[in-house]
Symmetry: D3
Subunit: 314 residues, 6 copies
Amino acid sequence: MDALKSPRFAQPITFARLPLVRDLKGNGVLGAFVGVPFDGGATFYTGARLGPQFIRAESRLLRPYNMDLDVYPFIALRAVDYGDVDVIPTSVVRTLDRIEETIGSVIDQGATPFIAGGDHSITLGVLRAVGRRFKPLVLHFDSHFDYWDEYWGEKYTHGTWVRRAIEEGLIRGVIQVGIRGPQYDKSDLEYPRNSPVPIRVITMSEVDAKGINWLINELRNSLSGSVYVSFDIDSVDPAYAPGTGTREPGGFTSREALLIIRSLANINFELVGFDVVEVSPPLDTANITSLLAANITYQAMSIKARQVNKIAKG
Amino acid sequence: MDALKSPRFAQPITFARLPLVRDLKGNGVLGAFVGVPFDGGATFYTGARLGPQFIRAESRLLRPYNMDLDVYPFIALRAVDYGDVDVIPTSVVRTLDRIEETIGSVIDQGATPFIAGGDHSITLGVLRAVGRRFKPLVLHFDSHFDYWDEYWGEKYTHGTWVRRAIEEGLIRGVIQVGIRGPQYDKSDLEYPRNSPVPIRVITMSEVDAKGINWLINELRNSLSGSVYVSFDIDSVDPAYAPGTGTREPGGFTSREALLIIRSLANINFELVGFDVVEVSPPLDTANITSLLAANITYQAMSIKARQVNKIAKG
Amino acid sequence: MDALKSPRFAQPITFARLPLVRDLKGNGVLGAFVGVPFDGGATFYTGARLGPQFIRAESRLLRPYNMDLDVYPFIALRAVDYGDVDVIPTSVVRTLDRIEETIGSVIDQGATPFIAGGDHSITLGVLRAVGRRFKPLVLHFDSHFDYWDEYWGEKYTHGTWVRRAIEEGLIRGVIQVGIRGPQYDKSDLEYPRNSPVPIRVITMSEVDAKGINWLINELRNSLSGSVYVSFDIDSVDPAYAPGTGTREPGGFTSREALLIIRSLANINFELVGFDVVEVSPPLDTANITSLLAANITYQAMSIKARQVNKIAKG
Amino acid sequence: MDALKSPRFAQPITFARLPLVRDLKGNGVLGAFVGVPFDGGATFYTGARLGPQFIRAESRLLRPYNMDLDVYPFIALRAVDYGDVDVIPTSVVRTLDRIEETIGSVIDQGATPFIAGGDHSITLGVLRAVGRRFKPLVLHFDSHFDYWDEYWGEKYTHGTWVRRAIEEGLIRGVIQVGIRGPQYDKSDLEYPRNSPVPIRVITMSEVDAKGINWLINELRNSLSGSVYVSFDIDSVDPAYAPGTGTREPGGFTSREALLIIRSLANINFELVGFDVVEVSPPLDTANITSLLAANITYQAMSIKARQVNKIAKG
Amino acid sequence: MDALKSPRFAQPITFARLPLVRDLKGNGVLGAFVGVPFDGGATFYTGARLGPQFIRAESRLLRPYNMDLDVYPFIALRAVDYGDVDVIPTSVVRTLDRIEETIGSVIDQGATPFIAGGDHSITLGVLRAVGRRFKPLVLHFDSHFDYWDEYWGEKYTHGTWVRRAIEEGLIRGVIQVGIRGPQYDKSDLEYPRNSPVPIRVITMSEVDAKGINWLINELRNSLSGSVYVSFDIDSVDPAYAPGTGTREPGGFTSREALLIIRSLANINFELVGFDVVEVSPPLDTANITSLLAANITYQAMSIKARQVNKIAKG
Amino acid sequence: MDALKSPRFAQPITFARLPLVRDLKGNGVLGAFVGVPFDGGATFYTGARLGPQFIRAESRLLRPYNMDLDVYPFIALRAVDYGDVDVIPTSVVRTLDRIEETIGSVIDQGATPFIAGGDHSITLGVLRAVGRRFKPLVLHFDSHFDYWDEYWGEKYTHGTWVRRAIEEGLIRGVIQVGIRGPQYDKSDLEYPRNSPVPIRVITMSEVDAKGINWLINELRNSLSGSVYVSFDIDSVDPAYAPGTGTREPGGFTSREALLIIRSLANINFELVGFDVVEVSPPLDTANITSLLAANITYQAMSIKARQVNKIAKG
């Protein structure tokens, strides 16, 4: 929708004011925004079911041209808003099925999904859908490991999806970035050593000690092949992202977060899916968390757009 | 959209989750929700440009059946969300033209407009469109007269639309309900006496003294023919409608407001248009003002639906 | 805890600053406050899992003597704070078991439970516990019927507990007070006619038409034997109770709500349990919803205290 | 300041945009707004030190003509904003001295003080100043008695000023209106019986049972001679006045509060001072509490203006 | 006003508690704070009309001595609060005239204006006034270029003032600092190349890559002669400045912003005017945006004070 | 309390869900959390009396293992929540006595106090208690000096405690970190030169110029023997800590604050007490200030835990 015709604050809201389209194949869509408004997997504070709504609202300021990466992501991807997954608010298990089905359809139609959660439990459903075609490496931004085995006997929560994804054979490795804060037990740190697939943990302490450029370089040396990016907004500091359920002070700034994502543009891999999760608007202030999530999604779309353009140019 | 298929908090938002449709005639639409996101006519606090967005968000709880009036308003009116008028945020005068054009198109296609503002200056544009077909009596809920001649030399503001509408010959009378609060001068009360069309003023003091039932009876005796209802949300008390720019304590409760609108169902007139204005979401708390505005709109649609049904049966 | 020794804003928080006690029998406790911090059964907005925490915080202003009912509720009931049910946030079904178990223990120890939810799905668990000893009439304050059969195939939600409780044979009737707002379908109104137990529906329209005194009189004529009171805070108007997930404008005022509960003091029945539910603090403003819920609980405890005193004197 | 020259939201803020004037006598001022930004006497939540600032901000909508009472209060009283008392934030006792001195000067210059607190402890300082000339009857709106003897050994707090004023022989009686909520002990109700001056208590329960018109009539029969009005904003319900430190649900509506004050216009007494206290802006939502306080002050000024006009007309 | 006599939270509010003075010449004033409460030029969110009010409120903590720059800005400039420009809320064009007139008078009286907006459209009016005496270089902090030609056919908005100022021949160049975020089109970047006066663009990406010290050095090499500083608060990151209408994540921190302004102290140029714009208090949280704007203004006054002192010392 | 049994959002709240224990000696407690809910010493905004309540609420996410410092602080210190000091809200002087008494008892029982204020005046009471056994060096994080002699003739406020502590001979030196912002007068900087004990001032400007690592190194070279750490949360930037009464932009980030505290682990000194003060929840947004304060306290406890472990292993 053209902001020079209709002001950005006008009209019913879609992601970045893109058209709401369900037929991706027919429209040659290569990138689709999909909401997963679910918070039934949260173990602390809820509210993430409103994430897609508020991220859409804050995405209205996203304009077509990414000058840092010199790319028009929406044009390159013929991007659309696919709407939301019809979740089952009272059931994690059934919602995971719905996610797999919907995201599966997006992928089957040839589009890369750019997903806005929802709590982090939803990523398992997405990976099941992605897993039909790819066995990706997961680049996982988070302040928490999310590889616990269960909570109160529950296997499917926002803190257990990494382990489930590994157990289900969906992924070929994980790189965790931004880990920090108190842990339950020293033994929490041991799972990566015994994990069937490689898990690389990069803590904020390590980032503090070695710097952002070191981190970017590490990612450059680690990413290749199919990669799925899962961005838990609580990897960012509460000052920049107060609107999330399980906050840990001492995280990334918004500038660092955007820079890190942007820096993926120069690495040779295939982005097969992306999510930004744990945005909880009822806990947010001035919607800055949703605004940041919208911008991170924009950078992720730009990464994919450059990959697509590169292939097109051959 | 069916809430039993997709939860009410999911999917991009339209008014009451109705389809977003521009071709009214082709779809036999008799009632259309239209947003006018404009606050360039406000003389005190702004923010009403976000009214349509937030009223849509809060309208998601509106369900199809009005049990008090025994009517299905959306079905009876084949109601849709028409989207917003493409306002010019920096120009009242040009925006009035845009409103007239868009609302004119709605009316030309045979639908009654149910409008969410925006500040009260927008009503003049609507009345210009309505005025092509009708010369309605205006039932005007407000805490202010809105018939001043100008502010700082400006003729088109949210406090002057009543006088402009009269001067432009658009309406055949006004009934003002809910007037209260301090006035600039005693002479402010004199305009109705010299007005070219009848203006009936019912103050809150009068309502306090005589009761709501008296008020409803007065309306019953006063309304007939084509009627346009303009509902300034500041007619309601700030406890029920904090999100508005020019608040006056001592207004209607939400129960009274809904009851009064609902009671119009039994009066013999033709509703030719409706607006709810001055909802300013940045000033609101917990979105209760937008929620109330959505429900008042629902009652207004129900009134029209009953009129339509009556004619159909007639 | 004595406010004249330690200011009311000091010290870790329990309900009304009562002692946190698990051994009820040994302490002769007749009334226990219990929190059920669960919102996994909510179909619209979440946040009610924080209800008990915020109701406790706002209860610190409750003082020992109820001058309207001339009773010391805490002393009469030797009241305590029993803590919270250890819910399973991601499972309604398992949480209902936990509720039944915990509330069952409260009742087995001879105390009447005064419960703070949580969403309305929790009441089913409470009624299962109550149902071991009583088959109560349920006095149900709400803006919604809550007797739907399912949502998206889910049987246990905050909108289906009434039907489940009837199907499970736990209750001998329901009186619903405060019903209002749009409905899915006219047929929604038919369930009471075919229900195996009597359901009396009193809508807000009826209350508006006949008055609060009529309502109180109706309750006087309807209540006897064992009665369970379930108070959904959304029966109150959003101006008085903005902090709830599924709001309907046009509800009771706080004065009416307190008056109605207080008026139960003069009716001859046995209060076997009480809950106040659907308080969602993240949606609240200035915590007034939690404050009201605390005061309603206080009045309910006072009712029970008078019943206890009467028996003692009896 | 003329709103037709400078918009109401512009320019540094004084009460009702009146001039900031310290020389009252020279300007023939009969009524002065004075702020007392003090909350060092609060026993529960603080924040009332910001009351004057926010009441001034919300007073900008007050216009010159009171149409209900047919009077121009600012003109009749040649009203000004006198600024604030220079309180000592960390000392109640020294602040009371400062209040007495400043308000004493206002009175000595021939003006009636219209005071915005500040917590209720400040009223004692005002009464000491008023007491130099008058021994008034105090019309006291509140949800609390405020006649306790001490808190934690402290004699000067917002809950003890009534007793201190009586002990210091400053007043000839008290009428308390709006009392409600839980009490420490039944014996709390006994102080009026043994008080050296008459204390009349009118509870909200009594108002609920007998109606507002009865209350107004009671006041008509009780007020005469010199009267000081102290309006604790917590006499109003938290829905209308959330921004106060010690809230009790079940209070007056804004319409009732304004009506009661307005109805004093027809009673034959002399208003010797007025305060509105306990407005705590940090706890407020959308500043509606400050807005209401500004309007109540306006009505009080109008009462005085009519008394002044009446004398002038002789 | 002396904080040791009257607490900082007391008394009607002026900028930094300076006297409200209109006669600058007679008082030898060299620096005047002026508010421009206008948001009629905003293309996205409004609210900036409240900027001056809230910046004044937060400025109360500003104390006389700047220890980093070893200067007493208020004393050196004999600084005052000049009040606000009497804007015309519904007309950009007429407001620009009012601004030119008022600021022109400030300059004519020999004082440098320190302006608090208001949306960025106001800067054009200020530059017209400044332009009568100087043709300054504009040091422009912003996340946006603001040199578009029009919005919806409107020439005077907060996004077009740079182009208008150049077209009107008011300035001799622009240095833009902090530019970032998505753009409409690649061609947006081309205007500087064809501009009649030099435009230097420094993006946040460039700052990220080269560092703050590089930026400060660039400014040192670029500034000389008469310089006007326009500080759009959205150049700062939304975590530090959430209260603004068109936010872009990834901006300066408050420490960087203050450091950059402070570092101007050692550069040889003449500051002929300053504004901080786009502070929108209704969108702010905890007023931190207004607080930052007040402190930036303080640093700007300190820069001027040092220039004045230097001249005085000769 | 085990989060795997009871969700972290459930149950009445204590610090980090530790047991509420008054008998420290009998339980071998080495570290006790103590709240001091007092804001009667604040000279600007109040609200800090709610600090302990909100810090406790946000501390629920603190888990047992500190992976950065490889220590279990709660286990090592057998840590408990001691509850709050029973302050006298209306008297600084009497509250200081209460603090001395309560903290004295904690120390006498062999535990190190970890205190949550409250405004900064409380630190004097704590130092009086600490002073019975130690004459510590105070490591003081703050944006203000807090060594003024008086405010309005008042000796005991949150801005005078440093001078009082020196005068009372309680401490052997002060290191102030984070000082910034405007000062009353240049002479404010002179007190350290004439102080009877050494005062080292490290301003934010110095930190900006030399870097965080330099700061950490300075502390390493300065600390030894008994050290008391007083952390005024306003040393942190308002973006990270908006909820405090006297904010100064340009402070530490949360990452820096946590890093600095953490880095104390490798310095050879004895931590004899710790406080985090000036957290004012009514001014906070999304409780991020309380969350940060809880995490800083956790790091401080970890420092002590390592000192304790070292001695144990010793």
